[in-house]
């Protein structure tokens, strides 16, 4: 499903040069739930962004969902992200000026040929899966952190992506809420066979996944 070969990422600023990723080789198979751990600053988010095509590696090859994306221009990548990928972030990234249902519909808005009624239907379906159908017309400010993250999950799954990329999805939540989110992700992985790559700081969360990859200073250590 995901194949990374010799991925390097170098950040250059005026003063220093950071090697954020160093010769990463990673295979994720279809339906796998992979977790990535490692100390702060070791390159986890960078790796996830590169898999998610929102950042480009300095060198290396990426194949996702059987497509080699190296030659993609920014528009191709946008369409690819829209159709194949779902994103979940630590800080939710909901749009505060949009209601819950409008937030969830958002990815479908950037997809051609999805009618308004179809968008609504799919968004309601996604909200039902995360147990928030009764909060459709609320605004993000009226929700708890756990509820916000469930809305973000609904937004990530509404377009039926092949892969979900989650960057510390439980990082801002207490353990009860964190477990709730984790259970939803596990359910998605088991029932819908969605491939999930998740960055986490929490060993107990990582243990629930199929496989754990550890990064240290931009390199894979296990």
């Amino acid at each position: 499903m995901i194949s990374l070969q010799n991925i390097n990422k170098v950040y250059r600023t005026k003063t220093i040069e950071t090697l954020a990723l160093n010769e990463i080789n990673l295979e994720v198979s279809e339906g796998e739930f992979l977790s990535i751990m490692g100390p702060s600053g070791c390159g986890k988010s960078t790796l996830l962004n590169i898999i998610g095509l929102i950042d480009e590696p300095s060198s290396g090859n990426i194949t996702i969902a059987n497509q080699t994306v190296n030659g993609y221009n920014s528009k191709d990548m946008a369409h690819f992200r829209n159709e194949k990928l779902g994103f979940i972030f630590q800080s939710f990234h909901l749009i505060n000026d949009l209601s819950v249902i409008d937030n969830v519909e958002l990815p479908l808005l950037y997809r051609k040929s999805v009618s308004a009624s179809e968008r609504r239907r799919l968004a309601e379906e996604a909200l039902l899966k995360v147990g928030l159908k009764n909060r459709m017309s609320h605004f993000p400010a009226q929700l708890s952190g756990g509820q916000k993250q469930r809305v973000a999950i609904a937004r990530a799954i509404v377009g039926k992506p092949n892969i979900i990329l989650a960057d510390e999805p439980t990082g801002n939540l207490d353990s009860a809420m964190g477990n709730e989110i984790m259970n939803i992700l596990l359910q998605l992985n088991q029932e819908e066979k969605t491939t999930i790559v998740m960055v986490t700081h929490d060993e107990s969360m990582a243990r629930k996944t199929n496989r754990l990859v550890r990064l240290f200073d931009g390199a894979q250590v296990s």
């Binding site: 988010s45 962004n49 998610g52 929102i54 950042d55 920014s74 528009k75 946008a78 369409h79 992200r81 829209n82 159709e83 994103f87 972030f89 800080s91 990234h93 749009i95 000026d97 949009l98 209601s99 409008d102 958002l106 990815p107 808005l109 950037y110 997809r111 308004a116 605004f139 937004r155």
Partner: protein
């Protein structure tokens, strides 16, 4: 997408309200100024109807002690003396209602089946030719009109249009001053004797074979440009006849320019104020957009991550601002439209339509220019960076 943007605008109505208000007020101010300017420029663009190049006017007064026969003879002699100069083409007499001197003489009469109203200028037989009026229908005065039963008048096309429409007017007779019947002998294209910007188009030149008043004016048509020493000669010639030299000679061309300047100055001032206003709106708008887009970096990052192209980001921002602009303009148009609908001011509706179009055009252009660059910047936001910042 359109519905999404409208939802976004509606949900942010509070912060969009100020922008709306700015657009609305700018429209009202621009509309008012442009109405005024359009109105004046449209008046300016119509022909003035007479010649001012190389035409002088002498404001003359004959002593009170002079009897009426001598009065008439003096007027005859002034013409004779002046016409003797090769530099002079002709001399015509009028009452003191001279172009650009702000005096008016108006008559109205209700007994014609309608209320006929007109400004009236008294003129002798030479006057139309000296002023070089353009007769578009009928004829100008001639000596025989002096013996006719009715007073001969020339009317302007504006007056004809207002009262007579397609009806035949030449040789028709109407009651005017003191129930005196006046006969229209011809139509001239215009006679904007209050200046280029004047909107008064109802004017009559009334034939007076003998101007009896001791106050009168002599319109002197020259053959071409002359030096100041010639004006001295003219002065002397007139003074020799009327035995006084306390009169003034003015050049119609200069008078015309001075009169127009009274309009140009406020028009240019208004334009400058509008220019500043537009510049202010532009800077304000640019600042607000710049600020908003920076505040919305995480949103842009998120949208890019979930599949928005650069183009959809920039068009979203431009459409958002354009929608708010349109709402502001729509409300502005609603108020502006009351002027032509209620006819609060007596000017042609077309002036309002030009002003509406102009104000909308200017505002939309300014908005597009100001939103273009910030929107491009928004599209360039790097999603990974923007998502990281929160």
């Amino acid at each position: 997408m359109i519905k999404h943007i409208l939802t976004l605008i509606w949900n942010k109505k509070r912060s969009n309200f100020l922008l709306f208000l700015e657009i609305f007020l700018a429209f009202i101010v621009l509309f008012s100024v442009l109405t005024l300017v359009t109105y004046n420029l449209r008046n300016y663009s119509t022909p003035i109807g007479f010649d001012t190049e190389d035409v002088w006017v002498a404001y003359l007064e004959i002593d009170e002690s002079v009897d009426s026969l001598t009065n008439i003879d003096m007027k005859r002699r002034i013409k004779q003396e002046l016409n003797a100069f090769p530099e002079i083409n002709g001399v015509g007499y009028s009452n003191s209602c001279v172009p650009f001197n702000d005096s008016n003489n108006a008559f109205g009469h209700r007994e014609n089946g309608f209320r006929l109203f007109s400004f009236v200028i008294e003129a002798d037989v030479d006057y139309p030719e000296v002023m070089d009026v353009n007769v578009v229908e009928g004829r100008t005065f001639n000596e025989s009109d002096a013996y006719a039963k009715h007073t001969a008048v020339l009317i302007t096309q504006g007056l004809r249009d207002q009262y007579f429409g397609d009806r035949e007017v030449v040789d028709s007779i109407y009651l005017m001053d003191n129930d005196e019947p006046w006969k229209i002998v011809g139509v001239i294209d215009a006679y904007k004797y209050h200046g280029d910007f004047s909107d008064e188009n109802r004017v009559m030149l009334k034939y007076e074979p003998q101007l009896e008043s001791r106050f009168f004016s002599a319109l002197i048509e020259l053959n071409g440009a002359v030096g100041p020493e010639f004006e001295e000669k003219v002065n002397k010639a007139i003074a020799g006849v009327i035995n006084r030299s306390d009169f003034v000679i003015k050049h119609l061309k200069t008078e015309r320019e001075l009169t127009s300047r009274e309009y140009w100055v406020p028009i240019i001032a208004l334009f400058s104020i509008c220019g500043f206003l537009i510049l202010n709106i532009a800077l304000g708008l640019f600042g607000v957009l710049w600020y908003n887009i920076n505040k919305r970096r995480p949103e842009v990052g998120l949208r890019r991550a979930i599949g928005a192209t650069k183009y959809s980001i920039s068009s979203q921002f431009i459409l958002e601002i354009l929608f708010v602009t349109f709402i502001g303009l729509l409300v502005g148009l609603f108020f502006a439209a009351q002027l032509p609908i209620l006819k609060l001011v007596d000017i042609e509706n077309i002036n309002y339509y030009y002003a509406m179009g102009g104000a909308m055009g200017i505002i939309i252009t300014v908005v597009l220019i100001c939103s273009f660059y910030p929107s491009q910047q928004a599209a360039r936001i790097h999603p990974a960076l923007a998502l990281h910042e929160d």
